[in-house]
């Protein structure tokens, strides 16, 4: 790993009111790999993910200290421009949330917001990214229909295409398959493996087997602290910490 990490976290602490939910997080996310954040529910996995694109700030009464460096720039710097940071990261949420507009407009939304007005170029972007998310063949005849009419699995791929269309470097996933049927889940997992050539992928999951299947790198969080992180194989086969062992064996859940 010669080049510097896209995401580097230094002494990150997050408080919800009096609750200290993330404690002294220090971590580097490897480039062009799939990183899975695992841990029991309520341990702060999603909070950590949301810190990466500052969506954490829309939670009421939250306080964040420390640094998150994305491409060398501290995104919590008071001078940092938040929309420009978020553009670098695509987000897949637990359940797909298509925007209340057509399939076409869902993909075109991001590029339009960032100033793309050329109709031809927008058409190209929409087609390109729908293909990238393997959705084009299924929807090419009904691009103008509301996105809500797609199946849940299709919606999640639409959300993936929507995220890719703003040309991010990183894809964030917050349990992106938890609402999907097994086949759609596999579809997304397969997509992740293909996409890691071009993007760094970070996703939260509570399914250990899923992490084992597709992740190259694991971060194990428990009670707001990083217990252990490292290549998937190492962590799963040879955990150093007692808590990691317990989790892997299914004692903590």
């Amino acid at each position: 790993m010669e080049q510097s990490s896209h995401i580097k976290v230094k002494d990150l602490n997050v408080y919800y009111g009096q609750n200290h939910v993330l404690k002294n997080i220090n971590i580097e996310i490897p480039n062009n790999q799939i990183t899975a954040i695992i841990g029991p529910s309520g341990c702060g996995k999603t909070t950590l993910l949301k810190c990466f694109n500052r969506l954490i700030e829309s939670v009421d009464g939250v306080r964040v200290t420390g640094e998150v460096l994305v491409g060398g720039e501290n995104i919590y710097d008071p001078k940092a421009e938040v929309t420009h940071i978020r553009k670098k990261m695509g987000l897949l949420s637990q359940r797909p949330f298509p925007l209340p507009m057509s399939i076409y407009d869902n993909i075109a939304y991001g590029p339009k917001i960032h100033g793309e007005r050329n109709k031809k170029e927008l058409d190209r972007i929409v087609e390109h990214y729908l293909k990238e998310a393997s959705l084009w063949e299924e929807v090419k005849d009904r691009l103008k229909t509301p996105a809500g009419s797609l199946s849940i699995g299709q919606q999640q791929r639409l959300c993936l295409a929507r995220g890719l269309a703003v040309e991010p470097d990183i894809i964030l996933g917050d349990e992106p398959t938890s609402a999907l049927d097994p086949q759609s889940s596999r579809h997304i997992e397969q997509k992740f493996i293909e996409l890691k050539e071009k993007y760094s992928i970070v996703f939260v999951t509570h399914i250990l087997r899923q992490a084992k299947r597709i992740a190259d790198y694991l971060i194990f969080i428990h009670m707001g602290e990083i217990i252990e992180c490292g290549p998937t194989k190492e962590i799963l086969e040879n955990p150093k910490e007692k808590k990691t062992q317990d989790y892997v064996l299914g004692i903590i859940s």
């Binding site: 978020r86 637990q94 507009m101 991001g110 917001i113």
Partner: protein, 287 residues
């Protein structure tokens, strides 16, 4: 003993059913009563004469209601033009930008405003608005606007709250600013509910009586500007009900105006309630 209890339970059930039917049928009962009472005047003069003539001479048996209908439309229109932008902007501010504590402070104030009786708004209009704008459509519209704001804003805030936060996150994570997210996603998603809120306010404005009556001037003529005096339908009913029995057909004409109000308001209410029910149900499914 057991039979007694079960019997009681059953009798109570039947009583409740009866009361429910009775209460719900009061809607039909009022409708039927109004139709029945307004039939004589409808039979005597044609609909077009009643609705589109401005000749209002009860003593001569002429009941052209255009001045009252157009006054009602004017006053309602003015109030909506004033209230809607205020409501949309404040509702967005309170639900998207303002700190939770500000919302908790302002929400009770809005509710208190909603509980203030019509007459008090009228008195306020007399003290503060009439000295500036005279007894006019504009005064009536301003007073009405303040009266419907709490209703409309309440619905809007509730509706905006139902927009899932993940949808905002989705837009924000694409690099949209907060304002772009609100404009293109939140407002768009909440639009049916926002419209329902406006229609609900519209129907409230339509039927509002005392406050408008006190500031609008009550002159029987078709208003041509907002500074003209007007005479809306509810005010017509309120002002003349006492003496209606002495003039033939007068009561029937007044009942017809009540019927017009009734029909418009029921249609508006059904429309907006159905939208709101659908929104509520969708939220139920989502969570």
């Amino acid at each position: 003993m057991i039979f007694n209890r079960v019997l009681k339970d059953k009798i109570a059930g039947k009583t409740m059913l009866f009361l429910t039917i009775l209460a719900c049928s009061s809607l039909l009962l009022i409708f039927a009563g109004l139709i029945f009472k307004s039939l004589p005047v409808i039979e005597k003069s044609s609909f077009s004469e009643l609705l589109f003539s401005s000749k209002w001479h009860p003593l001569k048996g002429e009941f052209g209601m255009l001045p009252f209908i157009s006054s009602t439309l004017w006053v309602t229109g003015v109030s909506i033009i004033i209230a809607v932008p205020l409501c949309i902007l404040s509702a967005i501010y309170l639900s998207e930008y303002a700190h939770k504590r500000i919302l908790q402070l302002i929400f009770p104030i809005i509710d208190i405003l909603a509980g203030i009786p019509s007459v008090i708004f009228g008195v306020w209009g007399l003290i503060l608005i009439v000295p500036i704008f005279g007894y006019s459509i504009l005064s009536g519209g301003i007073v009405l606007a303040v009266m419907i704001v709490p209703v409309v804003i309440h619905v809007m805030i509730e509706v905006i709250k139902t927009v899932p936060s993940e949808l905002r996150d989705a837009s924000l994570s694409l690099g949209a600013t907060k304002w772009q997210t609100i404009k293109f996603v939140v407002v768009k998603k909440a639009l049916p509910g926002i419209i329902a809120g406006i229609v609900l306010g519209l129907s409230r404005a339509f039927g509002e009586t005392m406050a408008v009556l006190m500031v609008v001037g009550n002159v029987v003529k078709i208003p041509h500007s907002v500074m003209d005096a007007g005479y809306p339908l509810p005010a017509l009913i309120a002002n003349n009900y006492g003496e209606m029995m002495s003039i033939p057909m007068y009561d029937s004409a007044l009942m017809l105006s009540a019927l017009i109000l009734f029909i418009i308001i029921v249609v508006f209410n059904v429309f907006s309630r159905l939208i709101l029910i659908r929104i509520e149900r969708n939220v139920g499914y989502n969570s």
